[in-house]
């Protein structure tokens, strides 16, 4: 049996003197080691300063900022609102479409323009495809962090199909610049609907295969169940959102609770963690929520493809983007959580201030809380299950 030990919440670093749960005083030194910024399982350039007592994690201090590119300051120096879109692409580079959507919605609300229904449908299809692509990376890299290499390659194989669809539509595979203020850069190519339907049919059995090889694999379950438990109240207090929050049992999804675009027209439901393999809010729950969200996304895509209306996708693009002075905060559900854009306009052609509320940044803040007292090997599992993208954490 693994010895159960607890650390007092007001733990102070005292080298040389640590009391065990049985009351014995041990002479040990605490060790401070750096995990990252070049560690593969920190998913980018994140440095975790880990205070270790033997193999037990006493404290984790995330150091961020290695990928800071001044997104917010840069936006203020653009010559127009449209130019921000390629930079918004680069925030969360695994979910570019969702970033564009959030920014475009914010500026459209400032300009008070209505976009044609065809544009709304295409945007939903694109951002749901992007959600699947992003979750596939999250799941694949989670597998590789735990020690399963095969699911990683399978996930990338399926993601490649989605990227092919994107490339066919907007000409780029990673940073699309597709969703513009008031419309889209191109209409869908003629074969797109058919190919997207093919993809949905192809992808559904692959989720089952992925579950067989990874999700319900005992080795994986042992590594993730009951590890990094994030209770609901803690998740809410830290402002977590997205799969992190839903895995903790909170039924909150902005696509349903604060619908934007045309999400209210489709039949689907948010997935929440139920603690099937251990406790509600553990790493396994966060993993299964992502898997099930992909199924829901496929559902939304199929419905949207079946009912996509005709129309001109560029009809509502304004010639000159010059909003009235004012401010707006728009929040959307990106694959990682609540992605908010706060845009202030002073009536000129370029934004006065843009603030992005990045879900990865907020979700990362809970990492020290949930990893205190776990083993160092579990820290990798916990950090990977938060699914951070450092491009978005640092912006």
């Amino acid at each position: 049996m693994i010895e159960t030990r607890s650390l007092p919440t007001d733990y102070v670093f005292k080298p040389g003197e640590i009391k065990t749960s049985s009351g014995k005083t041990l002479r040990t030194d605490e060790m401070i080691i750096n995990m990252g910024p070049q560690h593969p399982s920190t998913h980018g350039v994140l440095r975790l300063e880990v205070v270790l007592d033997g193999e037990i994690v006493v404290d984790v201090i995330p150091h961020i900022g290695y990928l800071h590119r001044c997104f917010e300051k840069h936006c203020e120096h653009m010559t127009n609102y449209q130019q921000v879109i390629p930079y918004a692409d680069r925030m969360d580079y695994l979910a570019s479409m969702n970033n564009d959507l959030g920014y475009a919605l914010a500026v459209e609300r400032l300009l008070k323009i209505e976009v044609p229904p065809r544009v709304e449908y295409i945007r939903v299809i694109m951002s749901e495809l992007q959600r699947i692509a992003s979750h596939l990376i999250a799941i694949g890299t989670y597998g590789i962090d735990i020690g399963a290499f095969t699911p990683f390659l399978w996930c990338f194989r399926d993601r490649e199909r989605i990227l092919d669809l994107f490339e066919m539509t907007c000409g780029a595979r990673l940073l699309y610049n597709y969703i513009w203020i008031g419309g889209l850069s191109h209409d869908l190519p003629p074969k797109f609907v058919e190919m997207a339907k093919d993809f949905c049919a192809y992808f559904k059995p692959n989720i089952k295969e992925l579950n067989d090889v990874l999700t319900f694999n005992q080795i994986f379950v042992k590594r993730t169940a009951n590890v990094g438990v994030l209770p609901k109240d803690v998740a809410i207090n830290y402002g977590c959102s997205g799969p992190m929050l839903r895995a903790s049992g909170a039924n909150w999804d902005l696509r349903r609770d604060d619908p934007y675009s045309v999400y209210d027209k489709f039949e689907w439901q948010p997935e929440i963690g139920k603690g099937e393999m251990g406790t509600v809010g553990d790493c396994w729950d966060r993993h299964i929520v992502r898997i099930r969200e992909m199924e829901q996304s496929v559902k939304i895509i199929e419905q949207a493809l079946a009912s996509i209306p005709e129309g001109n996708v560029q009809a509502a693009i304004p010639k000159r983007i010059r909003p009235e002075p004012g401010e707006i905060y728009i929040r959307t559900e990106s694959p990682r959580g609540e992605l908010g854009f706060y845009v202030v306009s002073d009536g000129t052609g370029s934004p006065y201030r843009i603030k992005a509320r990045a879900p990865s940044f907020v979700n990362l803040s809970v990492l020290p809380e949930i990893s205190r007292g776990s083993m160092i090997a579990d820290l990798v599992a916990i950090a990977a299950s938060t699914d951070i993208v450092l491009g978005e954490v640092d912006r």
Partner: protein, 166 residues
């Protein structure tokens, strides 16, 4: 591990669980079955990926009858979010009256967003389908007119695509 600092894991594993053999066999069965499915990778240097007309590769200048179409209006340079384009205009005897005496794109700065192509009134700057870009130093990465000019016949597919979708 709970948030209050107590470790939750209590159960010991049985010997059967410790061996993990059934799980390994299950995993391997799935993996081996993949070996007989068709391959989805390219043998890269021999087999190259062929981009479609919608692909945004490196920007080039269209050359028609030995002269560039560009009239050096400077819109591309103004719209470029990454400030990668530098244009210097000069006058010419030809019908278009103005031409770029210097047209440079810094390919290290370029982010392939396609805005330059979008604003160009003359269809002069076009995203080609070339995606292999290698430089040895910063100076080499600044593409002047010598590297940018491309005969318009080579850009036929992309121009067709733009006329259809814009």
């Amino acid at each position: 591990m709970g948030s209050n600092g107590t470790m939750i894991r209590k159960k010991d594993l049985t010997i059967w669980q410790k061996t993990y053999i059934p799980e390994i066999v299950k995993g391997l069965r799935l993996t081996i079955s993949q070996m007989f499915k068709p391959k989805f990778t390219y043998n890269y240097p021999e087999e190259r990926f062929k981009p479609a007309a919608s692909f945004r590769g490196r920007p080039v200048l269209a050359e028609e009858n030995g002269v560039e179409r560009c009239v050096a209006c400077g819109l591309c340079s103004r719209v470029c979010p990454a400030l990668a384009i530098e244009v210097q205009a000069s006058e010419t005897e030809l019908e278009k009256e103005r031409y770029p005496i210097k047209f440079e794109i810094n390919m290290v700065r370029c982010i392939f967003c396609g805005f330059c192509e979008e604003v160009c009134p003359e269809e002069a700057i076009i995203m080609s389908n070339e995606y292999l870009l290698v430089f040895n130093n910063q100076e080499e990465a600044v593409f002047g007119k010598d590297k940018l000019l491309t005969p318009v016949e080579k850009l036929h597919d992309r121009l067709e695509f733009l006329r259809e979708h814009r």
